[in-house]
């Protein structure tokens, strides 16, 4: 079943482009959410895959009514609670009764910020096997639910590209598999490919016959076409 975060191809209204002079952050609190989210991630307790899973499994009413940074804030709050750093009582009361705590040893320090952002965190891993598919090969995608390692689970295969036939365009080496990593089931690196799908294959109505969509797919999302 298609989840509400998986919205590629859904009918929707017009896109509103930005205007000259629009600020980087619409509201001052947006900046704090970004900072807290980056600093929370830097503690190393959860991965970007886990963060994405917790954002996309927010209650539907919240996911659909929250703005971008509200989704980040909600998922971050829940991750801190689920990891035992904050209690529900503390969140409900907006207070922590104990003394000011010393800085947690893995907390991000101000002097580390520039280096941390400039380094990032690579998703590539040494290849442990030859890729099963070659450039130009025709492949077919599975159903998103068939790629999940638990239910409900995380996958990066969008519904609109499920069960579709495409062509391997790039091979990117082995990358961490979000389907397992999001749930603390290990990184299980797999070959990652860019797969090109003709718009005619994906949509009942297409605007341009030569148009295409490229989706990055892990090897376990794909099967060979005989």
């Amino acid at each position: 079943m298609k989840s509400y975060h998986d919205m590629g191809g859904d009918p929707a209204g017009r896109v509103t482009p930005d205007k000259p002079g629009d600020p980087i952050f619409d509201q001052p609190w947006h900046k704090r959410v970004l900072g807290l989210t980056v600093a929370g991630g830097a503690m190393g307790k959860w991965s970007i895959d886990t963060s994405r899973f917790w954002r996309e499994t927010l209650p539907k009413s919240d996911y659909q009514s929250f703005t971008y940074y509200e989704k980040w804030l909600a998922a971050l709050t829940n991750l801190f609670v689920a990891n035992g750093f904050l209690s529900r009582g503390e969140i409900a009361n907006g207070a922590y009764d104990g003394p000011q705590q010393p800085l947690y040893k893995k907390a991000l320090k101000a002097r580390e910020v520039q280096q941390m952002l400039a380094t990032g965190s690579k998703a590539s891993r040494p290849a442990t096997a030859q890729p099963a598919f070659s450039l130009g090969q025709i492949v077919k995608t599975k159903q998103p639910s068939d790629t999940m390692l638990q239910k409900p689970g995380h996958t990066r295969l969008p519904y609109y590209a499920a069960g579709k036939t495409g062509t391997i365009l790039f091979y990117h080496g082995h990358h961490v598999l979000p389907n397992s990593n999001a749930h603390f089931l290990g990184e299980h690196p797999e070959p990652l490919y860019s797969v090109e799908f003709s718009s005619i294959e994906l949509w009942s109505h297409t605007e341009g016959r030569g148009d295409s969509v490229i989706v990055d797919c892990w090897e376990s999302y794909l099967e060979a076409v005989p």
Partner: protein, 217 residues
């Protein structure tokens, strides 16, 4: 083995629903708790914001594109050895660990989206704009890119195909736009002003700098 419970379907089970209703108060409540418990250093939050407000932004991507237009050898390296050249220049990092440069040609226009969330090449373009994160863009960019582009004032001719890149993995896509003929012969410093942020996503075309269009648009 799961280290902690799953997110739940019931709204009241979610700790975030216990926060104050007003978003600005919600984030202040969370930050106050995290600081009191020693989990975040407020100076680190300030430093992150400073990086994205004043240092990391589309001027970085624009400088790469302008140089690629003017220097065929650099362009070749930018396209074929992207991560290597960005690391050498000190421009890699968070949410841009694996960047692929896709080049617009008279035969192909490239457009970048993330339908599942809002993945974006932060180290070269900075904070994503609101429209990129909107449900409307995430929904329609893959199925009707030409209609979406027309809402940006861009008409792509039928004989130019459109490739839409859905950022479903940790690969981040940067569009290398075609250099406008009117800018041929300019030096790199003057070309930077022609490279708009949106043109590096594929939702804009390079254009002559004007007083009311800052580099970041």
């Amino acid at each position: 083995m799961l280290r902690f419970g799953m997110p739940h379907d019931h709204h009241d089970d979610h700790a975030h629903s216990l926060l104050p209703p007003e978003p600005a108060l919600r984030v202040r409540a969370l930050e106050t708790l995290l600081v009191r418990k020693g989990l975040v250093d407020p100076a680190a939050i300030d430093a992150i914001i400073d990086q994205y407000e004043h240092h990391i932004g589309p001027h970085i991507g624009a400088s790469l594109i302008a140089r690629a237009w003017n220097d065929p050898e650099f362009k070749k390296q930018l396209v074929n050895n992207t991560d290597g050249i960005l690391a050498d220049m000190g421009f890699g990092g968070r949410q841009g660990e694996h960047i692929v440069v896709v080049e617009n040609t008279p035969a192909c226009h490239n457009l970048v989206v993330c339908t599942l969330c809002s993945c974006y090449p932060w180290p070269v373009l900075g904070v994503p704009p609101a429209w990129y994160k909107s449900d409307a863009y995430r929904s329609r960019a893959v199925s009707e890119p030409r209609a979406v582009l027309s809402e940006f004032g861009i008409i792509i001719p039928q004989d130019q195909k459109i490739r839409v890149w859905d950022s479903t993995a940790e690969i981040r896509y940067l569009v290398l736009p075609m250099q406008p003929k009117a800018s041929f012969g300019l030096d790199q410093a003057d070309l930077v002003g022609w490279v708009s942020r949106n043109s590096m996503i594929g939702a804009g075309l390079p254009q002559a700098p004007t007083a009311n269009r800052p580099v970041d648009l």
